[in-house]
């Protein structure tokens, strides 16, 4: 078999299985909903100020949605950046770029495999988080009908479907952040700088959104796209924010990816 992007992808996944940060990220994605569910079960209060916050004692299905809202601030960006920001820079750190770039794969194929692996990790982290949140939430508050943002009730199985769809919509800005992490990983050649840089980028977006006079930029900020899934929890479904996120997120992702690709293709591998 001739080696190609999928060869790189397979081995990148294999390498992720041997790295601590993978388990740090996935562990956080799984533990946070469990801790949240435990807190819900021992305390009577609820976060009133966020959507679905007041339903967390009525149905466990509100819990994954509350976590999506809280997680958008820095938890999911950090989990995403942990791998995306490291996946190119770690080759610089280990001095292994020269090792893999003198085989039979073009640089573009290596980069492509890394993009796929970083994306796969982010998808797994978000879906794992959702699955654990649904399970833990249902254990403490039951698998019961959910009140939507329009005030109507949907059955538990329908709510589960909506949560699944919400996670997928949530992946739009997450994957855009992954692409920015990949770009920073390629440019900085330093894992810590790229991880922190990606997180800073995410926080900057949120800051711009709340600055006075810059409210007009809000719909185009990557941070705002983390709310797009809420459209699914209205009746009838509001597709507008989702359609909006579907073109705004690629505006961040594709240039970042293209820039990272070009830098990776052209750079001198002089270290290591």
């Amino acid at each position: 078999m001739n080696p190609g992007i999928l060869t790189v992808y397979r081995w990148e996944l294999h390498k992720l299985r041997f790295q601590k940060r993978t388990y740090l990220g996935l562990g956080a994605a799984a533990i946070v909903p469990i801790l949240f569910a435990i807190a819900v079960s021992v305390r009577n209060g609820h976060p009133n100020e966020v959507a679905f916050g007041r339903y967390i004692h009525q149905t466990g299905l509100a819990i994954p949605l509350v976590i999506l809202l809280f997680g958008a601030v820095w938890m999911f960006p950090l989990i995403t950046a942990l791998v995306a920001g490291d996946i190119v820079a770690s080759e610089d750190h280990n001095g292994t770029l020269k090792t893999i770039l003198t085989r039979s794969l073009e640089r573009g194929q290596i980069f492509g495999g890394k993009v796929l692996a970083a994306v796969t990790y982010a998808v797994v982290a978000i879906l794992l988080n959702g699955a654990v949140a649904v399970a833990a939430g249902s254990l403490v508050s039951g698998f019961k009908p959910l009140t939507t943002l329009s005030g109507t009730k949907v059955s538990a199985p329908s709510a589960l479907g909506l949560i699944g769809a919400s996670l997928l919509v949530y992946l739009l800005p997450i994957l855009a952040l992954a692409c920015i992490g990949l770009l920073l990983s390629t440019i900085t050649r330093n894992s810590a700088a790229a991880v922190v840089g990606t997180l800073m980028f995410s926080l900057m977006m949120q800051l711009i959104g709340v600055l006075p006079g810059l409210g007009g930029t809000r719909p185009y900020l990557l941070s705002s796209q983390f709310d797009a899934w809420e459209g699914l929890l209205r009746q009838p479904v509001d597709w507008a924010p989702i359609g909006h996120a579907a073109w705004v997120c690629p505006l961040y992702a594709l240039p970042a990816l293209a820039a990272g690709y070009l830098v990776f293709l052209r750079r001198d591998v002089a270290g290591g």
């Binding site: 390498k15 041997f18 020269k98 090792t99 003198t102 085989r103 002089a270």
Partner: protein, 314 residues
């Protein structure tokens, strides 16, 4: 049509800001050569090798590997393998896993060679250990294994014995000799003259980025003038003979002997002349390995005007 040479370099130059790391290097390595790329540390050997492997872009000039330019894609590396500086691997994977990854990146029959190359470099019994725990020498050997997995016809090695203990150096050299004996073309950079003299049949000597000598070791030796010490049965007469003898440079008496500089051919002619003049040599010893003297002269000359003249060898 004749097959393209394993390695052909023309006008290769790499400039970093104000620093010319590699300056207009030309060389051709023929099939089956064991070619030494010799120079002191910092002379530009590694930068040259990185360009040969397509890891960095030349500022000017070209590299052809079997007639293909590594700048245009990894297809040029078909049949070519090697490493620059110390070989590096994923520390959290075992030696074997690292080779499996690289073999997968090579495609073809590379994966089937893993067991064989592990035994060639004598790492079979440590292959399951994580590379993190490998000694420098083991990593060097794994580097050779990683290169051999590609089944190369041209092997590019950057100072393969650096940092090894004497036994490790001996084993590494024996391994390179074995590979070369099997018909592989080897380009070997080194700052050790003895190593290149022992292993290589051709050499390029590089100094501050430029080639100052290119040719066979044998011819280099013939042109090398070294310092000699001479005692004879009649030193007065011998000194006269030395002064009259072509090729004997700066003969002088000191410390109870005659000292002079000459190349090997002139020394041979001198000893015949001494015998004829009834001043038979009782001692005629090179004071420094003549090749070493030449090497230092070539690579340690002063900057600018005092730079050594390139030695032309047909």
């Amino acid at each position: 049509m004749t097959a393209a040479a394993p390695l052909e370099i023309r006008g290769l130059t790499k400039v970093y800001g104000d620093i010319v790391a590699v300056d207009d290097v030309d060389l051709t390595v023929a099939e089956g050569n064991v070619y030494g790329y010799l120079g002191p540390n910092g002379a530009g050997k590694t930068t040259s090798l990185r360009m040969m492997l397509g890891l960095i872009r030349p500022t000017a000039g070209s590299v052809q590997l079997f007639g293909r330019d590594p700048q245009l894609g990894v297809r040029a590396l078909e049949g070519v393998a090697g490493f620059v500086e110390e070989p590096r691997f994923y520390p959290y994977l075992s030696g074997r896993r690292n080779l499996e990854l690289l073999a997968a990146f090579d495609g073809g029959g590379a994966a089937a060679r893993i067991d064989e190359v592990l035994s060639v470099v004598e790492l079979s019994d440590r292959a399951a250990d994580k590379v993190r725990g490998y000694s420098h020498g083991m990593r060097q050997r794994l580097g050779i294994a990683a290169a051999l997995v590609r089944g190369p016809r041209l092997l590019l090695l950057d100072e393969p014995t650096t940092g090894l203990d004497p036994a490790g150096m001996r084993d590494m050299r024996a391994l390179i000799r074995r590979l070369a004996g099997g018909g592989m073309t080897v380009v070997l950079s080194s700052h050790l003259l003895g190593e290149v003299e022992e292993l290589c049949d051709r050499v390029a000597i590089i100094r501050t980025g430029s080639v100052v000598y290119e040719g066979t070791i044998a011819e280099l030796k013939r042109t090398a003038t070294g310092a000699y010490r001479l005692r004879t049965t009649d030193d007065d007469r011998a000194l006269e003979v030395c002064r009259a003898q072509p090729g004997i440079v700066d003969p002088r008496r000191s410390a109870g002997a005659i000292h002079f500089n000459a190349d090997e051919a002139a020394v041979a002619a001198l000893s015949a002349a001494l015998v004829e003049a009834a001043a038979a040599p009782v001692e005629l010893t090179p004071q420094a390995a003549s090749l070493e003297t030449l090497f230092f002269r070539l690579t340690e000359g002063q900057d600018g005007a005092a730079a050594p003249e390139p030695v032309e060898v047909a």
